[in-house]
């Protein structure tokens, strides 16, 4: 009985929490957020490589680093090299980076598909860089800024959401490598701690 009551209360709390999140952002952009523990939705997005990228097609993957990022945001640019390093280090271990540009190119022309292809070529991106065409994917993840990292495990359960590390502007000052720590925890069969971090970033560009 006591347990039932507690479950009810928890459900109620979760409901209001989701409601709050869904309304968020001045009531303008609904943002259902997936949190650590939730299941992440798959997608089917065109990448600059010409491929259509879906998580289900990665049969060998042990997980994914789904990173919402873009060409134009200075934070995304500051982290660009570190995102490349993450892929080079963790793709061979079964955790590839899948980068998704969530911005509307009509609002941010520097983030259109051609510009994405140019940047990926110039910087030699080793990972798939997809455009969230129609902006259908980022709201399902509840990404709010670039860059915004979602670490998924093999079953597509979200294990970590947030920043790459704790020093965007000066890599030499990094004291916590959140993403690397989270992958290490998942590989060791543990829950990442922290599993959720916040960081300043560029708001995702949406037509108003």
């Amino acid at each position: 009985m006591k347990t039932a009551l507690r479950t009810c209360l928890l459900a109620l709390f979760a409901f209001f929490f989701v409601l709050e999140k869904a309304q968020g952002q001045n009531g303008r952009t609904p943002q259902p957020v997936i949190m650590p523990g939730d299941s992440a939705p798959d997608f089917s997005l065109k990448a600059v490589s010409g491929k259509i990228v879906s998580l289900k097609d990665y049969k060998q993957a042990k997980g994914f680093l789904v990173i919402f990022t873009c060409n134009t945001c200075p934070y995304a640019q500051a982290y660009e090299g570190r995102i490349i390093d993450l892929h080079n280090k963790y793709a061979p271990l079964g955790y590839p980076v899948i980068a998704i540009n969530p911005n509307d190119p009509t609002v941010q022309p520097g983030d259109n598909f051609q510009a994405m292809q140019d940047r990926a070529k110039e910087r030699k991106y080793p990972f798939e860089y997809c455009l969230d065409e129609g902006q259908k994917v980022f709201p399902k993840y509840g990404a709010s800024r670039t860059p915004h990292v979602f670490l998924l495990d093999k079953t597509r359960r979200v294990r970590y959401v947030g920043a790459i590390d704790d020093s965007v502007d000066d890599e030499t000052q990094v004291t916590r490598r959140y993403v690397e720590e989270a992958i290490a925890a998942v590989m060791a069969g543990k829950d990442p701690d922290p599993s959720l971090t916040r960081a300043i970033g560029c708001g995702i560009k949406v037509k108003r």
């Binding site: 709010s144 502007d169 916040r198 300043i200 970033g201």
Partner: protein, 159 residues
């Protein structure tokens, strides 16, 4: 003497007239904890953030229009340390805002974002309005001045 003068100038160089640079969030926190009869409007922005730049004039207008009343505007720049001299300072010199400006350099974001507001996911522009115990947080840009003013006036009337 010349060396002293240089030091003096350099020490002043970060921002213009009296505008503060906060190295750590803990130094800035007391500003957010003020509880008195003033309405504080704190906007987080950066020179690289286009929607932020678009809405800065609304805050400047608010600052000018409510001069002499109990409304205080503070524009807190999130620009990187390396961009203070090269980007932030020229921008401020060009725009000549009369509203107070500050720069917050603490990039250990996860440590402090929640202390500004538990709802803040970290995107900018973001604005915190507080008045005594009342707090309102907006993680989005204002579409016009009226939209911002609409949040301030009821607080003034309630006094």
């Amino acid at each position: 003497m010349r060396k002293l003068l240089f030091l003096f100038l350099f020490g002043q160089a970060l921002l213009l007239r009296g505008q503060r640079v906060y190295e750590r969030f803990s130094d800035f926190l007391p500003y957010l904890q003020q509880q008195n009869d003033t309405i504080y409007v704190v906007n987080f922005w950066a020179t690289w953030c286009a929607p932020c730049i678009e809405e800065l004039p609304y805050f400047e207008q608010l600052h000018q229009e409510y001069r002499g009343r109990k409304v205080k505007v503070l524009l807190v720049s999130m620009d990187f340390r390396k961009d203070l001299e090269s980007k932030l300072k020229p921008f401020l010199q060009r725009r000549q805002f009369s509203a107070p400006i500050a720069a917050l350099l603490d990039s250990d974001y996860d440590n402090w974002i929640e202390q500004v507001d538990p709802q803040w996911t970290g995107s900018i522009p973001a604005t915190l309005i507080f008045h005594g115990e009342k707090r309102k947080f907006i993680e989005n840009e204002f579409s016009d001045y009226a939209e911002l003013k609409k949040l301030i006036d009821p607080l003034l009337d309630s006094k």
